[in-house]
Symmetry: C3
Subunit: 264 residues, 3 copies
Amino acid sequence: MHHAGGDLIDAAPKAAARLFGELRARGPRVHCITNTVAQAYTANMLLAAGGVPSMTLSAEEIGGFVARADALLVNLGTFDAERREAAEIAIEVATEERLPWVLDPVFVNRSEPRAAYARTLAARKPGAIRLNRAEFKAVAGFEPEAEPDGAALSAYALDCLSVIGLTGPVDVVTDGARTITIENGDPLMASVTAMGCAGSGLLAACLAVENDPFVATVAALLALGVAGEVAAMTAHGPGSFAAGILDALHGLKRDVLIQRARVV
Amino acid sequence: MHHAGGDLIDAAPKAAARLFGELRARGPRVHCITNTVAQAYTANMLLAAGGVPSMTLSAEEIGGFVARADALLVNLGTFDAERREAAEIAIEVATEERLPWVLDPVFVNRSEPRAAYARTLAARKPGAIRLNRAEFKAVAGFEPEAEPDGAALSAYALDCLSVIGLTGPVDVVTDGARTITIENGDPLMASVTAMGCAGSGLLAACLAVENDPFVATVAALLALGVAGEVAAMTAHGPGSFAAGILDALHGLKRDVLIQRARVV
Amino acid sequence: MHHAGGDLIDAAPKAAARLFGELRARGPRVHCITNTVAQAYTANMLLAAGGVPSMTLSAEEIGGFVARADALLVNLGTFDAERREAAEIAIEVATEERLPWVLDPVFVNRSEPRAAYARTLAARKPGAIRLNRAEFKAVAGFEPEAEPDGAALSAYALDCLSVIGLTGPVDVVTDGARTITIENGDPLMASVTAMGCAGSGLLAACLAVENDPFVATVAALLALGVAGEVAAMTAHGPGSFAAGILDALHGLKRDVLIQRARVV
């Protein structure tokens, strides 16, 4: 694993700040195929950051929605026939239209059929894949007890030709050539359902306004982590925190993002 | 377009205050066919105002739920076979039982099949249709670039025999003969997913307790706009605002509604 | 009805405090078959208390999810073919694996097909059934006008071999032999959608860490009632209350639970 050099690390927070300014200015349309648990929070996170979410799954109309969108999210939580048909059409249209898309293989570590399906989607070159460590091991074919290192993550990114955004107490972003670690965030993020799913939606919005998917992925995870820290300052628990992170993302100041960034 | 006279305008805020008192006192049952993104927020808005929501889509039981309800909402967000079958049964029962119903043609501007379907429903005489400007143009057959004026809106209302509630920075309500403009609300309302959808649910509840659908539509949009202004006073962003508007609607005082109303 | 003796009543709050400590320490996996209105709030309540929710309904994978879970929730809100197929598989696996499960027969008083289906599930020995008074009458075969007393509730519990958690302004828990009444809670709980459904999810988590389903049911309803009282102290209405109850449950202190308990 070639860790990113000092220049890249220094540039990342400013690039993220610029990108979130773009996002507010341009209001990209993000079509989301996601599970029903995560839909409302994902839509609210996109709106808070300045994006325009849509969520239909209907085979009759999803092609039209994706064709007019600026990015696509494919989240596998709730793995049903309807969503798989929708994903098939949506990814085909996104590929034709050269639309960036994000794969979020939720809970593939809990279901082998879902992991197998995720592998077929990972092979279709999503711009980015966002997942946690257990999901990474399942989708990349490691045993649950394995402890894959940074080199394994980079190799997987090269293999998929996708940027990998591995989230957890510390986030790691790699495209195989470049790797950045983000130490922002708050433990309460793990106590709000759909936080990761919504983060994947935010990442899709970032891909819509930034050509380099590595920079977009760093920006999305960095901004979400900083928003989490800002929200935690006034939250009384996970309920007020869930609302607070939307508030923080909506009002996120350039200076706060840059000053709080802990990128290594 | 005949604009409403001064008497009607003067009477509207008081009529809205009376109607929301009725709503709390009577607790009307509102059956909602709506998209999964909007379900929870719609249910919470109905509960906050004093209504009793139900949301089943099952063909086996939706007829029974609608028959025992006081109003019906048909929202087209997420346009799937299950919801269309549910809508068919629900509208038939509502028509038989003379139950008022609201049509919310979400995102018809993004999907021609959805717009075509919305037109067939608009022809079945909903008590009210709530939509934004882009949706109005799509459902009424205007080109996206067209700028339909108040006369076009009135003509459409007369054509449908429905009250039209057009929402946006300023809301316009018309039944063809009478027109009122409501200048309440807050920009944060556009940053919360399902705000319009939930407003349509609230409108259905108002139709349940008020025989004149024009008065009911003015009341629903006015109360929501005022609740938005009250919520904005203490909100820190769209997350706390989404909760705050439920708080404000739940505690909405007669005097506050009347004093803050900006109806022209 | 044999009311619980003083010893049992004295012990209940401490048992609840111990059980919620266990829940945080062990983080049980709770698979939830629930309606789309309730999914996000149920997941957030489980996370707030320390549980790990999953929610898939896919026939292909639900068996695997349930087999690796520690408890199961079957909620009948939204009564559709997909959920019935999922419930069939899930209950079979839960029975085989001796996994405790909760039945929540939402709105059976509004739909006879749903009530009939609930009766077939109640016969399959859920660890606990959580419902309100109207739902109890429908599932137990009383007329809507009937006023079944405590003896009828106990008889039903004995008949099902399940613990009954009857919620309302006052909650009653019985397994037929033991009965406890819980006087905690706040009226705002009735103004938040899915509060009861989420409470059933919390109850499933309690069953996962406590062998006596009577104790688990008392603990779940007591903790939720106390969290409601704590949340009501700072809430401004149902929106902030919905978030506040998650905060309160997440931070619930042993002493607060014991001191506020009103168990008789």
